[in-house]
Structures are given as structure tokens and as C-alpha cells.
């Protein structure tokens, strides 16, 4: 008698730990797959990553090549999305710009949750005055308007893509710290932590081996839902001229370039805005789907 | 013979799930007169769902079907919502498990009692207020005036449940469904609350459907008992006949309770058999009246 892989995965009584784990993953995938929009989001993002990787090969022109004779051309067979004020091909700039977007989002999404995880778990795990001090600092950052704080940071550090990333990371960690602390507080009292402690595990080992892994899944959901916000903030910084500097094809900055010609040459500003919209929409759709899978309580709402 | 107060034939409640249709209630048949009918079963046996189905309160995607549900001879199954609203509260009412959750936390007790009465009796504010105070007094609340103005979080569980009873009986319904009315209360106040409810129901000659998992309690306060298992009635008995129960599940439920009159070394664990799900029902004549 043979059973299909599907039956094996969906078994009510898994025989091994591996089967249980794979089964849980498969269940998650089924939940995710049921959300068609989340799938659309995933496909868009996979496309975006592919575009970023193969940018030099698929972009029809150089993103930097100027052609002052052919400036502000409307979309045509030659330039699918038209050209900008310096005669550069907008499509090529968008394709190359995807790398910058992914770089910013990726870095912030890596750095901010890690800072937040570290501070939050430490705060929740140690308690006492450490907790008081760390949470007070977190509150202060949370009380600050994010974009303004990022603006002030960039102003202090000087405009540029690296500083923009740093400013965004510095302003987005507190939410993750709060989340990680809340998770830690609920984990801290659990019996298996007491068991591990009885086996002689030190605080560091408990933190790294037992607390961190359990905080990660809720952090991932949160990051996925925050990605769109990060993209929009980064684009906002770029729009204000505080992110990537010319001639880099950053999407926010490209909108800023097109602003002066908006009434007559709408495509210069419209195209990069559409790109930002599509990508952050994809992240939002994906985040919704991930939440359904990883955080069933939140999904019910 | 006049029509019974409530007559239910082959009631079914289904919920579609990812792994197929879940049948919460699978063909229940009973009649209710001006009597106290106990419905007993373990959690998940479909007893609460039965109560909600009668009131037309099963929310989509749940689906209710039945051969018929008649209230004093008049069909109420799948009645349009506005006609059903006239029945709810006015003719059939329900008391739920935990007053902590079943009372609206941001409305005063008085406002919640008046609301139902004003709607159904078309009474003025002053009349409704008087009725609410009377009802609070009827459920033996000593200082009705003060309780009238308080919020649900300011009263104890036992008092909350008495308020609930006062509220549900204010429009003088014919039938009260009590869904585990004392499970969330302290043991010390359970009997008191039940006695108050019992007296009001008897005085008014209402029909009571008392849903509980506690066989002893039901035997004490009811005239007749339906035993439910897996969405079906497995046995119907007069409360006084409980010790003559023939169904092994009922016997199991009885034996799993500690007894004062005989020494029992160790309480037997309730055994369940798959065959019970679909076996013959032991009381062929519905209602048994």
C-alpha cells in the first residue's frame, strides 16, 4: 500500500519529527496558496529580484547615457517608458533602480529587526532597571515622528544612500524591540526555560538558544508588513534629495526629477512612482499572506 | 391536544471546513411543553448549537436545516430576519454562560434591561425603568436602584447572571434557553442563581431548555432530560428515571460522578464507542409526552 506525498504531509499522526515539521510547512504553504493575492505579491517580488540580478543584460539602454537631443521623449517603440530631462531611457533607469530599492529595503529589513531583537529580548529577559532604561529609550524613539527623525539624522550625517539606510534603520528598530520584549516576557516564564536553566544553561545560552528562535517568526511577519513602509520612506528621502545622489537611478529621486515637468511631460514622474507603487503593493500582499500563515490570531481579524 | 410550545424535527447544523463539512447537529427531534427540559452532553456534542439554531443565530457559513421548527404551531425555521427579531427576546430568550462576556461592558445594567423591554413592549422610558427595577428586585437584588446605574464590571458573577436573567425575562417570553447558565459562576452561588431562575420560569409557566454538561444539576432542576452525543440525541428520559438509563453513554456519564450513597473505589473513565454516533435512538417517540 502506498500513500501519496500529500497524504504523508497532511497526516494527523506524523511518525517522525521531520514529517511533523514538513507537514506544518506544507499546511502553511496551503494556507498561503489559498490567498491568491499573496501569490501575486510573491511573483512580483521574485520578478523584481530577477530584474535586479540581470539588470545590465535586460535593460535596453545604459541608465546613465545622456542624449540631450532626445530629451523628454514620450513613450515610444524606441523608449518604452519615454526619456527624462537628460534624454536618459526611463525604463533602463527603473530596471537599474530596482537594485537600489532592494539594497535599501534588504539592509533596513536586516539591521532594524536585529537591533530590535537584541534590545527587546535583553530587556524582557533581564527585567529590572535594564528593562526600565531600555524601554524608556524605546518609548522616546517611538514618540518621535519617524520620517522627521530620519530627516534629522540624514541632515546630521550628510545625504547619501548609506546614511539614508542608517537613518531608516535607526528609526524603525523600536517597534521590533517592543514586539521582541513582549514575546520574551511570555516565553521567560515557560517551563522549558526553567528546564533548560536547571540543566545549567547560562543566560546567554538561554537567550540565543531558546528565546531568539521563538521571537523570530512574529518578527518576520512584522518585517514583511513593514517592508512597504520602508520602501515608501526611502523613496520619500530620495524625493527630498536626501537619499541616493544623482546620477544614481533611485526611484524617489527620479520622481523629484520629473516634478518640474509634471504638467507637460507627465511620464517622467509617473513611471517611477508606478514602480514604487507596484513593489510596495507586492510587499503588502505578501505580508498579508505571511500573516495568515505565521500568525493565525492576527489573520482572523 | 394543543400544539406544544416548541416542536423541533430533524434539526441539522453544518459548518463547511477545509477538510469537509462538519456536522455539529445531526438530526435532532424533540418537543417542548411548559416544562423544564434538560439537554446534557459533553462539549462539542452540539447542545449549544441546538439552542442557537432555534433562535436563528447560527452565523454564516454555518447552515441550519430541519424538517421543521414550530413555535406554538407556527413555523419559525428560516423566517425572514425582521420576523425572527420579533420572536427573539419577546417569545424565546436565552441566558448564556458567562455574564462577564455576555453583558455589554460600556452600557449600564439598567440601559441594557430597558432596551429589550422598550422594544418589545413599546413602553415609555419611565415604564421601562420601572419594569427594569421590578425585574432586578424579582431576581432578588437587594439594591436595584444602585445596580441599575452600575456597569457590568462593577458587579460580581452571580449578580451578573441574575441581571442577565432579569434582562431576558423582562419582555415575558414563552421559552427560556439557558446555555450553561452557571458553569462560569462560583460554586457557592450556582444553586442560588438556579433557584431564582427556576422559580421565575415556573411562576410564569414558561418552557425552559436547560443546556448543561452537569447531569446532576439537570436531574435536580428539570422534568425531562435529553442526552446528546456527537450531534444527536442518544436517549430521552424523565429526570426521575435517570437511574434507569439504558444507553451505555448515559450510564457512563452517571457512573463517572462520585456518589454519596455507595463507596466507589475509583471513578470509571467515560468510554465512548464509534457505534454510538449513528446507532438507534433509544426513545423512539419524540418528546415522550
Amino acid at each position: 500500500m502506498t500513500i501519496t506525498t500529500r497524504e504523508w504531509l497532511l497526516s494527523d499522526a506524523p511518525q517522525t519529527r521531520r514529517q511533523a515539521r514538513l507537514g506544518a510547512l506544507y499546511q502553511g504553504w496551503l494556507t498561503f496558496r489559498a490567498n491568491k493575492l499573496a501569490l501575486v505579491g510573491l511573483v512580483i517580488l521574485i520578478l523584481l529580484v530577477l530584474i535586479a540580478i540581470f539588470a545590465p543584460w535586460i535593460s535596453p539602454k545604459s541608465p546613465f547615457a545622456q542624449n540631450l537631443g532626445g530629451r523628454l521623449q514620450p513613450p515610444s517603440a524606441e523608449h518604452w517608458l519615454g526619456t527624462d530631462a537628460l534624454g536618459r531611457d526611463i525604463l533602463s533607469r527603473l530596471i537599474h533602480g530596482s537594485r537600489i530599492t532592494l539594497f535599501i529595503v534588504g539592509t533596513v529589513a536586516l539591521v532594524a529587526p536585529v537591533i530590535g531583537l537584541f534590545i527587546g529580548t535583553l530587556s524582557g529577559f533581564l527585567g529590572g532597571w535594564v528593562d526600565q532604561v531600555l524601554m524608556r529609550i524605546t518609548d522616546i524613539f517611538l514618540a518621535f515622528p519617524k520620517l522627521i527623525l530620519a530627516l534629522a539624522f540624514v541632515a546630521a550625517l550628510g545625504p547619501g544612500i548609506g546614511n539614508a539606510v542608517l537613518a531608516l534603520a535607526l528609526t524603525s528598530w523600536p517597534a521590533y524591540a517592543r514586539l521582541a520584549r513582549a514575546e520574551t516576557l511570555s516565553i521567560r516564564k515557560a517551563d522549558y526555560i526553567a528546564a533548560a536553566r536547571l540543566q545549567g544553561a547560562g543566560p546567554m545560552r538561554l537567550l540565543v538558544g531558546h528565546v531568539w528562535p521563538l521571537c523570530v517568526s512574529s518578527l518576520i511577519v512584522r518585517v514583511a508588513l513593514d517592508m512597504a513602509g520602508i520602501i515608501l520612506s526611502a523613496a520619500g528621502l530620495g524625493f527630498l534629495g536626501l537619499g541616493a545622489q544623482p546620477p544614481m537611478p533611485e526611484w524617489g529621486a527620479m520622481i523629484s526629477d520629473g516634478r518640474a515637468f509634471i504638467m507637460d511631460f507627465w511620464w517622467v514622474a509617473a513611471m517611477p512612482g508606478l514602480a514604487i507603487f507596484v513593489v510596495s503593493l507586492a510587499f503588502n500582499l505578501l505580508g498579508d499572506g505571511l500573516r495568515d500563515v505565521l500568525d493565525p490570531k492576527g489573520a482572523k481579524e | 391536544m394543543t400544539a406544544p410550545l416548541l416542536s423541533v424535527r430533524d434539526l441539522r447544523v453544518n459548518f463547511p471546513t477545509r477538510s469537509g463539512v462538519f456536522e455539529a447537529v445531526r438530526g435532532i427531534t424533540f418537543d417542548l411543553g411548559r416544562e423544564r427540559l434538560g439537554v446534557v452532553g459533553e462539549s462539542g456534542s452540539g447542545k449549544s448549537m441546538t439552542g442557537r439554531a432555534i433562535l436563528g443565530l447560527v452565523r454564516p457559513p454555518g447552515k441550519v436545516t430541519a424538517e421543521r421548527i414550530d413555535l406554538q404551531g407556527q413555523p419559525i425555521l428560516n423566517l425572514p430576519e425582521d420576523q425572527m427579531r420579533a420572536i427573539r427576546g419577546q417569545r424565546i430568550s436565552m441566558v448564556m454562560q458567562d455574564p462577564k462576556f455576555s453583558l455589554n461592558p460600556v452600557m449600564t445594567v439598567g440601559a441594557q434591561i430597558m432596551e429589550a423591554y422598550r422594544l418589545h413592549a413599546r413602553a415609555t422610558r419611565a415604564e421601562a425603568r420601572q419594569k427594569a427595577l421590578d425585574m432586578l428586585a424579582a431576581v432578588q437584588i437587594r439594591d436595584p436602584q444602585r445596580v441599575f446605574d452600575s456597569y457590568p464590571h462593577e458587579v460580581s458573577g452571580g449578580m451578573g447572571q441574575r441581571i442577565m436573567i432579569a434582562m431576558m425575562l423582562a419582555p415575558d417570553p414563552d421559552i427560556l434557553i439557558a446555555d450553561e447558565p452557571t458553569s462560569a459562576l462560583d460554586v457557592s452561588v450556582r444553586t442560588e442563581v438556579l433557584r431564582i431562575m427556576d422559580r421565575l420560569v415556573q411562576d410564569r409557566g414558561m418552557g425552559l431548555i436547560f443546556i448543561s454538561h452537569d447531569l446532576n444539576l439537570v436531574a435536580q432542576f428539570c422534568d425531562r432530560v435529553l442526552i446528546m452525543y456527537a450531534g444527536r440525541v442518544v436517549e430521552t428520559l424523565a429526570a426521575s428515571d435517570l437511574h434507569n438509563a439504558r444507553h451505555p453513554y448515559t450510564q457512563g456519564l452517571l457512573n463517572s460522578l462520585p456518589r454519596l450513597d455507595t463507596a466507589v473505589d475509583r471513578l470509571p473513565v467515560l468510554k465512548r464507542e464509534a457505534s454510538w454516533r449513528d446507532a438507534e435512538i433509544l426513545t423512539p417517540q419524540p418528546g415522550g409526552l
Partner: protein, 356 residues
């Protein structure tokens, strides 16, 4: 005096009831944390002011100053004192409303702020108003008819609101409604002919023009503010409708809703009188937060619409390296954030019978 245990009805929800002592202590705690947060805000702006690569002295004395002039200015600005002393001085100045002089406008920053802040508040208030008036009903109906077409529309509206860059949508709005259709006034707060015609009372032109009884100016100001305010309102409504919906869904699945239905209440009454009354308190917090984020979101909107408000002021100062102006503006917005949080906290205590 800690009041009764409150389990059996002390009846009142009044602030000064038997729970006065507890309320007082709670408010004391809130004020303490408010003070600490404000202090932290100032500390952060102070640090940002110190680590910036711009030499504040050079900005004052100019490039061609002699070393002696430079040193004199250096000392006059207190930069030779220890850092903690500088911080103390910074706090004292700020508390007295002294943010220093703006290098780009030449005026004291406090004076500039008094001029630009009302413009931003006017915009953010109108935006929040739109967000609440549309977002709350939308969220309630979406929750009540879950899965229905209004719910789907609300979902799309919110999803787009969360995904679209505000400044880009603003540009596209200008292109469509001003450039192509000509339905609204263009960038800025007023048309040229009305500029400076209305006497300043509140600094909010819609109100000032009404006070002056100048309908023309009012109509002109309205045609200028409606597009940016709708834009901010859209973002506000995306957030408010989502939160309203999820609060409502939570309440609609509560037991007391079944109680209300058992009592035979109409669906309208179940929704608005029972469920909605229960979400009003958290909703106020959401609205306060949304208003705060519009103050912040106005940075980009003001740039797009050339709106002479706080956001534009801060951004222009940033690009000019005018740090006094940046920090002054930041402190003002940060303080608004903190005060709005405090306000929603107090409203929560007063409005929710369960608190205390």
C-alpha cells in the same frame, strides 16, 4: 485613599469619585513619563545638533572671519563649555521658546514656527476630518458586511493607501485636477490676489477668512487646500478604516453581541449602539495617532504642493544646513506627538467605564 475594590458597584465613572486617589496617581505617572519622554526628545535633537558635520560658528560669522572673531563667536555660543552644560542651556532655551535664529530666513526660529505651524495644523486637521468622516463608517460597514462588496472596496482602498507614495499621488493629483481638469487651485495656500489680504488671527486661512467675512478669500483658500487635504485624508482613512474594521470584527464576535441579538435588537442597533460604543475609546487613540502621523506626513505633501507649513520649513532648512530651524521644527512636531499620546491616554481614562 485608594477607593474601594470596585467589585460591587461604586456606581460612578466620575474622575473625582472614590477613585480620585488612584486617578491622581495614574495621572502623576503619565506626567512623569511625559516629562521623561520630552527630555529624551530634547536629548536626541541635541545630540543630532552636535554630531552634524556643519560648523555652526562658521555659519554665523561667515567664511572670511578672523580667528579672533571666530573664537569670540565660539565662546558666545557656549561651545567651549562642557557638553552637559551646553545641554542644560539648550533645555533652558527651548523651554523659554528660544530655538535660536534661523540662518536661512534671518528670523528667530520661534517666530518662523509661529507662522508655519498653523498652516500645517490646518492641513492635517482637515485631512483627519476627511479620514474620520469617511474612514469610520467605511470600516464599520466593512466589518458588518464582512466579505461584501463594500468590504472589498475598503480593502482595496486601504491596500492602495498603504502602498502608494504620497508625494507621487500628490503630483498626479495636481496634474489631473489642476493641470488637466482645472477643478482646484494650484500649489500654495492662496491665489496671488488674495495673498496677505486676510488679517491673521489664528493663522489658519479658512478660519481667518471666515472671521473676516471674506467669502472670496475663503473660496480661494478652500480650492487650494482641498486637494492636499483630501490626499492626507485618503491616507488617514486607509488607516482609520482598517483599524475600525478590525476593532469592529473583534467586538462583533463578542458574547454580548449575541445577547443583543437574542434580545431581538435590530442589526443597526447591534452594530452602532452595542459594538460601536465599545470601540469608541480605542478609536480615539487611533484618530489621535493618525492626526500625529499627518503632521509628519505633511513634510512630503507640503513640498509637492508648495504649502508654506512646518514640513516645508524643516525640509528647506535641512537642505540649507540651517540646524536651528531643523531642530526647532523637530521639537515642535515631537512635542505634538507626545501631547497627542497624552491626550488619548486621558480620554481613555475618562471615557472607558472600566478604567481606573
Amino acid at each position: 485613599m485608594s477607593g474601594g475594590n470596585g467589585t460591587t458597584g461604586t456606581g460612578g465613572r466620575a474622575l473625582f469619585g472614590p477613585r480620585f486617589g488612584r486617578n491622581l496617581r495614574a495621572i502623576g505617572g503619565v506626567l512623569l513619563s511625559l516629562g521623561l519622554t520630552l527630555l529624551g526628545l530634547l536629548l536626541i535633537t541635541f545630540i543630532i545638533g552636535r554630531i552634524m558635520p556643519i560648523d555652526p560658528v562658521l555659519k554665523v560669522v561667515g567664511d572670511r572671519a578672523t580667528q579672533a572673531q571666530y573664537d569670540a563667536a565660539y565662546q558666545a555660543m557656549g561651545l567651549d563649555r562642557p557638553l552637559w552644560e551646553q545641554f542644560l542651556r539648550y533645555i533652558t532655551d527651548v523651554v523659554q521658546g528660544n530655538f535660536g535664529r534661523s540662518i536661512s530666513t534671518g528670523h528667530p526660529v520661534a517666530e518662523d514656527l509661529k507662522r508655519v505651524f498653523p498652516a500645517t495644523v490646518e492641513l492635517a486637521t482637515l485631512g483627519t476630518l476627511i479620514g474620520v468622516l469617511v474612514g469610520v463608517p467605511l470600516g464599520v460597514i466593512a466589518a458588518a458586511r464582512r466579505g461584501g462588496w463594500i468590504d472589498q472596496i475598503a480593502r482595496v482602498v486601504a491596500l492602495v493607501g498603504y502602498s502608494v507614495p504620497i508625494f507621487w499621488l500628490g503630483l498626479m493629483g495636481l496634474l489631473l485636477f489642476y493641470g488637466i481638469l482645472g477643478w482646484v487651485g494650484g500649489p500654495g495656500r492662496q491665489g496671488i490676489i488674495y495673498d496677505g489680504m486676510v488679517p491673521t488671527v489664528t493663522g489658519m486661512i479658512l478660519i481667518d477668512s471666515l472671521l473676516a467675512g471674506d467669502w472670496g478669500a475663503f473660496r480661494d483658500a478652500f480650492s487650494h487646500i482641498i486637494l492636499p487635504a483630501s490626499l492626507l485624508g485618503y491616507f488617514s482613512l486607509a488607516y482609520i478604516s482598517r483599524m475600525t474594521r478590525s476593532f469592529m470584527l473583534e467586538q462583533l464576535s463578542a458574547e454580548y453581541i449575541i445577547t443583543a441579538r437574542v434580545k431581538g435588537m435590530t442589526e443597526r442597533r447591534v452594530i452602532w449602539r452595542h459594538a460601536f460604543r465599545n470601540i469608541m475609546v480605542p478609536l480615539i487613540t487611533v484618530i489621535a495617532l493618525s492626526f500625529a502621523s499627518l503632521l509628519e506626513g505633511s513634510v512630503l505633501t507640503e513640498i509637492v504642493f508648495s504649502w508654506p507649513g512646518l514640513g516645508q520649513y524643516i525640509t528647506k532648512a535641512l537642505l540649507a544646513g540651517d540646524m536651528n530651524a531643523v531642530l526647532g521644527g523637530t521639537v515642535v512636531i515631537g512635542t505634538c506627538f507626545i501631547l497627542l499620546n497624552l491626550l488619548s491616554d486621558i480620554l481613555y481614562r475618562v471615557l472607558d467605564p472600566r478604567s481606573g
